[in-house]
């Protein structure tokens, strides 16, 4: 008779879509210190995905890393809105010509509200653990679409409106990270930023770190995150 699984290694990463790049990197490298699990109940993922608590039952890590949400900035700004918008977010003080200025504090408010759903799920997961808990920021934004980039076919009708310019997406990502940092800190949880070496000099995700889907990192990105975590968590 076998009891519940016991996981004694260093870091358990639980979350949603962004955990997949980490899981692939862990598998490829044969990492023993990390486990990454997409905890969404797959059958209900399309409706927001309830948590499959069985998927991490029995794990007793030294550190828990939460990777929930992290796509809220793309909901607001991946696809162009009508009218097209921009906002000020220091040090990015200019807005693109012809775009409507939206007050920054409105963007902050919208993203802070949107991240609550992921935060709530993260807190439900956190309650199951007694170890130190951290949260992971989403990957940096992509710079531009190219011939290799592709969104799911369901995006076809929306994509006609165009993809928001990189400068706007960069600012949205910065605001989201700030809002996540603030929200998690209220629960005593530190947000770990994306690795600096995953970004180009302007803060965009290096082209080699994403494939067709520009909103998630690939396994190579996952590898960089794991290295980053080893330093941050002193693993």
């Amino acid at each position: 008779m076998t009891g519940p699984k016991q996981f004694g290694a260093a870091v358990l990463i639980l979350g949603e879509s962004h955990t997949n790049a980490l899981a692939r990197a862990i598998e490829a490298a044969g990492e023993d210190d990390f486990v990454a699990i997409d905890v969404r109940n797959k059958g209900e993922a399309a409706s927001g995905g309830k948590i499959n608590f069985d998927s991490f039952e029995g794990y007793r890590p030294k550190h828990l890393l939460l990777a929930f949400g992290g796509t809220e900035h793309n909901i607001l700004g991946l696809i162009e809105t009508d009218p097209r918008f921009d906002f000020v977010w220091p040090p990015y003080e200019t807005i693109k010509a012809g775009r409507t200025l939206v007050p920054s504090i409105a963007i902050e408010d919208l993203l802070a509200k949107r991240l609550q759903t992921g935060l709530q799920r993260a807190m439900e997961v956190k309650e199951r653990f007694n170890c130190p808990v951290h949260a992971l920021a989403p990957p940096p934004p992509f710079l531009a679409f190219d011939e290799r980039a592709k969104l799911p076919s369901a995006f076809a009708s929306l994509i006609e409106a165009g993809i928001a310019p990189a400068s706007v997406r960069l600012k949205l990502h910065a605001v989201l990270c700030m809002a996540m940092r603030k929200a998690y800190l209220e629960h005593g949880i530190n947000l770990i930023s994306a690795p600096a070496n995953s970004q180009d000099e302007n803060g965009f995700l290096l082209r080699t770190l994403w494939n067709k889907d520009p909103t998630h990192g690939n396994a190579t990105y996952g590898r960089l995150v794991l290295e980053h975590l080893k330093e941050e968590l002193n693993v």
């Binding site: 949603e16 879509s17 962004h18 997949n20 790049a21 692939r24 997409d38 969404r40 797959k42 993922a45 399309a46 409706s47 927001g48 995905g49 796509t71 793309n74 909901i75 607001l76 991946l78 696809i79 809105t81 009508d82 009218p83 918008f85 906002f87 000020v88 977010w89 220091p90 003080e93 200019t94 807005i95 409507t100 200025l101 939206v102 007050p103 920054s104 504090i105 409105a106 902050e108 408010d109 919208l110 969104l151 799911p152 369901a154 995006f155 009708s157 929306l158 409106a161 494939n211 067709k212 889907d213 909103t215 998630h216 690939n218 396994a219």
Partner: protein, 360 residues
């Protein structure tokens, strides 16, 4: 045969003891004969002190074509747009308490005045627009954002001025705070909602009757130079001063301020065509209404008071018998744009699901 005295034959409303409100305050109607009516298609713009917010809200809800030229982006929810004061007035100028403030708003909108104070920092490290310091709760993230948003705002003011058919302005205060260097007038004293009070830079002034008359007349002339057919309604806020900078009781300053404003309104409306005084002040403060229209703090106006004021406004100025319920939402949104955001949300979920399947 001549009359026994000159009051013989005069209408009942000229006599205190014949006022029907002595029996029922709801019957109090001091409005008189308007010089024009407001068509439902007329674009109405409102500005003024805090009482003007009631006017704006009521006009919008009554089905008037309340013109809002500074609209929120469809990303903003109705609640968020409201919190950020979109639709509170026709443009986001916030409360325009004094005739001097109105005059300078017009000058700033048309590039005739650029005040030295461009942005004030708050204690929290954010920034506010000195000329509408409470328009964006939480503040702007930088001086540059203040400047950029003000450009949009002033363009919206110009649009409102040039498109409107009717302008309703509510005079609120005579007490002003201004910059000694260029005379720029602020709605709130520096330091109250941003900025830093510096006695050498800023000073208090209580506007006199000639100053209020001149500022108001100048503003009307300026507006009609750009929109000659606009009809104007001037009112005086019945809301007492919250505080006075004069070294005297706030009740005395309130009486002074309202007296000046009331006379200024009388003089200016008398000397301009298609320009009426509307007696909001009297409806709320007259002994006929027994102070029943004030809230418990004796300052804020109770909803039933606002309803009385605006009910008479509809009766005398509108083309309809009663308020219509076809509310022109003050934040007319682009439903297509909002739907696009919802679609993006749903599809982002798809994208995240697919990520679990294929991103290697």
């Amino acid at each position: 045969m001549s009359k026994r005295h000159p009051y013989v034959g005069r209408p009942d409303y000229q006599f205190w003891r014949k006022e029907p409100a002595l029996e029922d305050i709801a019957l109090f109607d001091p409005v008189g004969k308007p010089s024009f009516r407001i068509q439902m298609s007329d674009k109405v713009v409102t500005a003024g002190s805090c009482f003007a917010q009631h006017v704006a809200r009521f006009l919008a809800q009554a089905g008037f074509n309340f013109l809002v030229t500074e609209q929120p982006h469809p990303l903003l929810t109705d609640e968020l747009a409201s919190r950020m004061n979109y639709g509170l007035f026709s443009a986001r100028y916030g409360n325009v308490y004094s005739a001097r403030q109105l005059r300078q708003l017009l000058q700033r909108a048309y590039g005739e005045f650029e005040p030295l104070d461009a942005a004030w920092e708050t204690q929290g490290g954010r920034w506010v627009d000195p000329f509408r310091p409470q328009i964006l709760p939480g503040g702007y993230v930088s001086e540059q954002e203040v400047v950029l948003d003000r450009e949009i705002h002033l363009a919206a003011v110009r649009n409102a001025i040039e498109q409107m058919s009717v302008f309703v302005f509510t005079l609120g205060l005579t007490e002003i705070w201004s910059d000694n260097r260029d005379g720029a007038v602020f709605p709130l004293a520096p330091g109250v909602a941003g900025g830093r009070y510096d006695e050498d830079r800023y000073s208090f002034h209580n506007l006199t009757l000639p100053e209020v008359v001149e500022d108001l007349q100048w503003s009307l002339d300026f507006i009609r130079a750009r929109n000659p057919d606009v009809k104007v309604i001037v009112t005086v806020s019945p809301v007492p001063l919250n505080a006075t900078a004069e070294d005297r009781h706030v009740a005395l300053s309130t009486a002074y301020s309202k007296a000046i404003l009331r006379i200024a309104a009388e003089q200016v409306t008398a000397q301009n065509e298609m320009c009426d005084y509307y007696p909001s002040y009297e409806i709320i403060t007259s002994p006929f209404t027994c102070s029943e229209y004030f809230e418990a703090d004796r300052r804020e106006i109770a909803p039933k008071g606002v309803k009385h004021v605006m009910g008479l406004f509809l009766k005398h100025y509108s083309e309809i018998e009663q308020a219509q319920q076809s509310v022109h939402t003050r934040t007319e949104q682009n439903p297509v744009a909002r739907q696009r955001v919802r679609d993006a949300e749903a599809l982002m979920q798809v994208l995240c699901d697919e990520e679990a399947i294929n991103n290697t």
